[in-house]
Amino acid sequence: MSARRHPSEERLLAFEAGTLSAPEAVVVATHLALQPQTRAWTHLARAVGGAVLEEQEPSPLKAGALESILARLDDAEPRPDLAVTRPRNTDTSLPAPLRGFELGPWRWAGPGVHVRNVLGPRDGDCRVILLRIASGQSAPRHTHNGVELTCVIEGAYATQDGVFEPGDFEEADPSVLHQPRVVSDTPCLCVAALDGQIVLPGRLGKILAPFVRL
């Protein structure tokens, strides 16, 4: 059986309910930008949000709220539209949801591996990185300390579960030693949400540990 390539239904519902942590939401949003067919689920989740809204016991707004809003309608200068939010980085090859964040510098993180931070979306120890791995290279062997969500942006990598291509979403199993290998001719670019530090096992891990903070 091939591994699933999209977020679970419960994760998509949490994304649309606005309750997913910011780093996880970044990876889910990237997947949705690259894989429009998954949006059938998120649009369903919004419809459910609408149904939940409809069924609320109304909580009255302040007296005079309507009048004060009506008075503001004329000078309601359209605010900057969400859909044209100013990009905060110059990497036009990135999917739209990632353009809204500043990026840290690329750093070396092992043979053929570079990482850069996506600045902003954090939740405790959980944060977002871009990972670029050269063709034929593997990410350093690592086990997972907490959940790791990954979405491929360019190129492809393979794990024991199969090949992951642009738009594919992977939820790492914390019990599995994870060593994706890049199988595309070009480098593989991924966005990942990491919770805690990646633990690099073995001798290489010990050597790299002082230098590599993934």
């Binding site: 949006r39 059938a40 419809a47 309507l66």
Partner: protein, 188 residues
């Protein structure tokens, strides 16, 4: 108060978009404003913040009425999304970028032959689908919208394992989708 027949909010939004009709807007405001405030309070916003965001959401409805496409989303889903985006933006920086790319419910992407699009635009169909769920599934899905509820908080509140909560939401969502596809005949 005598309960009123459901109004056609889609037509009211069209009046706002085309004619800047204030009476139509007042009607939308009277119905959705207090419901947005109630949902935001249940989602953990302080009452003053919920009031402010509800008013801001209604102002956004006025400004963006022309972008509402009844073929893409129900009025309630559209207004829910506006309120959700405002709340996310108030809570965390940069979240506008996360939701902006699909703020038009896929209008920027080529239309897909997908029954969810045609079914999810129909409030009555979605509510009927919700009623078709078993109570445990409906409750887990509803709770996912409240109180910044993470799945583990829902699990604690209900006293059931985390895996059970996830399974209820997952199978509930699948059942909703199947129900809507069946009711709308799978047409685009």
């Amino acid at each position: 108060m005598v309960s009123q027949p459901p109004r056609d909010f889609s037509a009211l939004i069209a009046l706002v978009a085309q004619a800047k009709d204030r009476a139509a807007f007042a009607e939308i405001f009277g119905y959705y404003g207090p419901r947005i405030k109630a949902l935001l309070i249940k989602s953990g916003s302080a009452p003053a913040m919920a009031e402010e965001l509800a008013q801001e959401a209604m102002l956004t409805v006025w400004r963006k009425a022309a972008s509402y496409d009844p073929a893409r989303a129900s009025v309630s889903a559209w207004i829910y999304t506006i309120a959700r985006n405002l709340r996310s933006d108030a809570l965390r920086r940069g979240s506008s970028a996360l939701y902006a790319f699909d703020s038009t419910f896929g209008a920027e992407a080529p239309a897909q032959p997908d029954a969810i699009v045609s079914g999810a635009q129909d409030d009555a169909c979605v509510r009927a689908a919700m009623r078709s769920l078993n109570p445990d599934q409906a409750q887990a899905i509803e709770m996912a919208f409240y109180q910044e509820q993470t799945h583990s908080q829902i699990s604690q509140a209900l006293g059931v394992p985390l895996g059970t909560v996830k399974a209820r939401i997952r199978f509930g969502m699948m059942k909703l989708r199947a129900f809507i596809e069946r009711e709308t005949g799978g047409r685009a």
